[in-house]
Symmetry: C2
């Protein structure tokens, strides 16, 4: 196996008009993937301290309410106090609500977030504005919005990895062919 | 960090009526995620010998034509010769066709595959039938169909991980928060 660190990675620069299409697709991707799926799939996790697909959706809702747009507002306002509230990554994880409701709420909230973001009509200079992250210190609007995109994508990756791993035993000898099923190699 | 091997994994047994819903959603998930997305996102990869999202879609089309249903047919027929043809994982990867065409073709082929699978109306005894894998030897219909599900899920996971990693630099200090952006830890 070739060590991943020998790879030459490809990087994309953040561009608002290429980031928004990713952000606005996430609710449809999640609804197609999880809506009305047999419950077993939505409740599996990867073991203690890992999340099931429905917990990830609940986490995304919380982010929509308290993280991305609220932090972007703090940056955009450029007030004297620009420190973000810490984001509680474990809030609302175990909602008893039906997953269909959670997916619908995420869809609605994300729609509002994107409308707000588009409404700001951010220019290059706005993307350079900064706020203060509770752990990292100074971060830019560009970094915040890039992180929003990565957050969506990494959680879709996590959901599908988690579902795949639930069949680790079911596939029998094919385990050897799937990197995601091998917990002892680097992904 | 807790070693992943200490985790108690959750496993699902293969059940045909819970597997089909996953398989039949994949085309919609991929179309929502990638259809008409700015081209940059569909062409990034994770470095040499890794695949871009559009290469993964091309690979899924090839699997639909030559792997899953053809192998299930060999098992179901229970002829004297039950050895599968080797699956060329690198065939058709670099199709020049527009991604929209590839997504539409995958949707059509998968629809046909699912119709065939449903039409067989497989019972428990059918799931126990076996064929011969060119590398692993004897494998069951149950394992083949489980692998089909894992194959879909792991490729969606791969596509979104690949896209997320393209923004590794763009997120700045937030890299620390995303397991998928860290190539030197176990996933």
């Amino acid at each position: 196996m070739i060590p991943q660190t020998m790879h030459t990675e490809q990087h994309l620069d953040f561009e608002l008009d290429k980031a928004i299409p990713v952000l606005e697709r996430t609710p449809a991707v999640l609804s197609d993937l999880l809506g009305d799926l047999p419950d077993d799939w939505t409740r599996v996790d990867e073991g203690p301290e890992t999340w099931s697909p429905r917990q990830v959706v609940a986490h995304l809702i919380h982010g929509e309410r308290t993280d991305w747009i609220p932090r972007a507002r703090i940056i955009l306002k450029q007030g004297k106090y620009r420190k973000f509230d810490p984001f509680d990554r474990f809030a609302e994880l175990d909602s008893p609500r039906p997953l269909t409701d959670l997916l619908a709420e995420f869809d609605r909230l994300r729609g509002e977030s994107i409308a707000t973001l588009r409404g700001w009509n951010l220019k290059e200079k706005d993307l350079e504005l900064t706020g203060e992250h509770p752990e990292f210190g100074t971060v830019s609007m560009r970094q915040l919005l890039s992180t929003w995109v990565v957050h969506d994508l990494s959680h879709i990756s996590q959901i599908t990895r988690t579902m795949a791993r639930a069949y680790t035993r079911a596939v029998g000898p094919w385990t050897a062919f799937f990197r995601v099923l091998q917990r002892d190699i680097r992904q």
